[in-house]
């Protein structure tokens, strides 16, 4: 059975690759820009270009198949149910099968947006797999510099982002424990609407436990004199960063024009 840890979120691949050597900020900008472009224009052609870009990125990252997220079975059941509902929507184009007129517009839209989701998530996964978590806050700090000129609360945002990123493995671990405790105490879920209450109770437990953790963390930060602001590491744009940015730029142009 797939667990939260099988999703391999924000886990950097141990084997170095050209993508590992890029500055984290470069990768953040590229993922944001290409992702936004393909979401803004989700045609099949644009998605083909974005998928090709994702494929190149995966090759450059030496991304092995074993590192792909292992999704639980229920996810595919939900996806399949969504496909069925979309199929019932019908619409142009029509095909004639055994005397029936079947409209394929609904299923085509479903497929297009499912592929879009896979591409956007794929870009984020490659970013997470090639960037040490510790590099992200510094890169976000640098990238947010223009917003600091506008007197936006960038320091607070970066501090919150840093805490979220650092606490992520802890959250995954706690979700795993909570789910395990739930399975032991409630090995069989009710088959009626009572299942909603079970989910509600588990969510309340998760929120209550998170609040306690957050309170403890806040006290620990206060005891150490607050968050302060660590100077971000210097930006080192190399030739590889420029090449990656140019390739991303060409991809975005192709997405917009196709």
């Amino acid at each position: 059975m797939a667990t939260a840890t099988d999703l391999h979120l924000l886990r950097c691949l141990p084997r170095p690759s050209p993508l590992h050597r890029l500055w984290a900020g470069t990768k953040l900008v590229i993922v944001a820009a290409v992702g936004t472009a393909v979401v803004a224009k989700p045609t099949w052609a644009a998605q083909g270009v974005a998928a090709a870009f994702l494929g190149i990125a995966m090759l450059a990252a030496h991304y092995p198949l074993g590192a792909l997220p292992r999704l639980p079975k229920w996810f595919f059941y939900v996806l399949g149910f969504g496909a069925f509902l979309a199929f019932t929507a019908g619409g142009k184009p029509y095909v004639h099968v055994a005397g029936y007129n079947l409209g394929l517009n609904g299923i085509e839209e479903w497929a297009r947006f499912t592929v879009l989701g896979v591409i956007v998530l794929g870009l984020a996964i490659v970013l997470g797999a090639t960037t040490p978590v510790a590099d992200l806050p510094g890169a976000v700090d640098r990238l947010c510099t223009p917003f600091r000129w506008l007197r936006l609360p960038v320091d607070e945002f970066v501090a919150a982002f840093t805490l979220v990123v650092r606490a992520f493995p802890l959250i995954l671990d706690e979700i795993r424990t909570l789910f395990a405790a739930w399975r032991l105490r409630r090995p069989e879920l009710p088959r009626d609407m009572g299942v909603l209450r079970e989910l509600h109770d588990a969510l309340v437990t998760a929120v209550a436990a998170s609040m306690r953790r957050a309170r403890d963390l806040a006290r620990a930060i206060d005891a150490r004199g607050g968050l302060g602001r660590m100077p971000p590491p210097p930006v080192r744009i190399r030739v590889a960063d420029v090449v990656a940015l140019l390739l991303a730029g060409a991809t975005i142009v192709a997405i917009v024009r196709l």
Binding site: H8, L13, P14, G66, A67, T177, A180, W182, V204, A209
Partner: protein, 240 residues
């Protein structure tokens, strides 16, 4: 009887992050026995606790309870985690102990009394108003009320002060004597191992380094300890 044979476990097997936690663990625990698993951080003791509770299947070997694979639906095993709040799923103490079962008030009160909480005082208390130690007791009451054959305690004394530790150890002895269930405690703190079990299994880097009476292990790892410690005087000697 619990039987682990050739048990090995690899997290994220088949991925670049594959990490071996256990290897070739052979372990037999008789019914009603109190065993303490001791090891430093990363020795695999928590993984073993999860496998014993039936929460994971080992990637190698098998874990059997009375000759059969552990089936969670039979409610034969229970586990108490270090972070008790994650085990409490209902807003009040009594409703949480009843979680997933239909239990009469008397059974709930008995379970509370067994873990040293006054039923009249605690029955209707909200779980978020309780201290960490009280939450742990409520979680334990919720576990033992199901009368599991095996109770696994993951770091049962972590985060408790000396009086809290003494109270919990006394309570665990009482629970074991009354319910006669098999209890496996997992701890990194060798100083308290003698108070948690009669037999100690020492894990090192995922392998069983020794399996002997707890007094022998305490002597072997803390040579200066003149005799078995009491709950109040036990030193906090870590295995590494």
């Amino acid at each position: 009887m619990i039987e682990c044979s050739g048990v090995g476990h690899v997290y994220a097997a088949g991925s670049p992050w594959a990490q071996r936690a256990l290897e070739g663990v052979d372990l037999t625990v008789a019914s009603g026995e109190r065993v303490v698993v001791v090891g430093s951080n990363g020795s695999g003791k928590s993984t073993l606790a999860w496998l014993l509770a039936g929460l994971m299947k080992p990637t190698e070997g098998y874990v059997h309870l009375d000759g059969e694979p552990i089936d969670l639906t039979k409610r034969e095993t229970a586990i108490s985690f270090q972070h008790a709040r994650l085990q409490l799923f209902r807003p009040t103490v009594a409703s949480d102990i009843r979680f997933g079962m239909q239990l009469p008030d008397r059974t709930v009160d008995d379970a509370l009394a067994l873990v040293g909480l006054d039923p009249d005082q605690f029955r209707d208390r909200k779980v978020d108003e309780l201290s960490g130690g009280e939450q742990r007791r409520v979680a334990l009451a919720g576990a033992i009320v199901r009368r599991p054959r095996l109770l696994v305690l993951d770091e049962p004394l972590a985060g408790l002060d000396a009086p809290g530790r003494k109270a919990l150890i006394d309570m665990l002895r009482r629970v074991h004597a009354l319910a006669n269930m098999t209890v496996v405690s997992v701890t990194h703190d060798l100083g308290y191992a003698a108070l948690l079990g009669d037999r100690a299994v020492v894990l090192q880097r995922g392998r069983v380094a020794s399996d002997s009476p707890v007094a022998d292990v305490v002597r072997a790892y803390t040579p200066s300890t003149p005799s078995a410690p009491s709950a109040e005087t036990a030193p906090s000697a870590e295995t590494h």
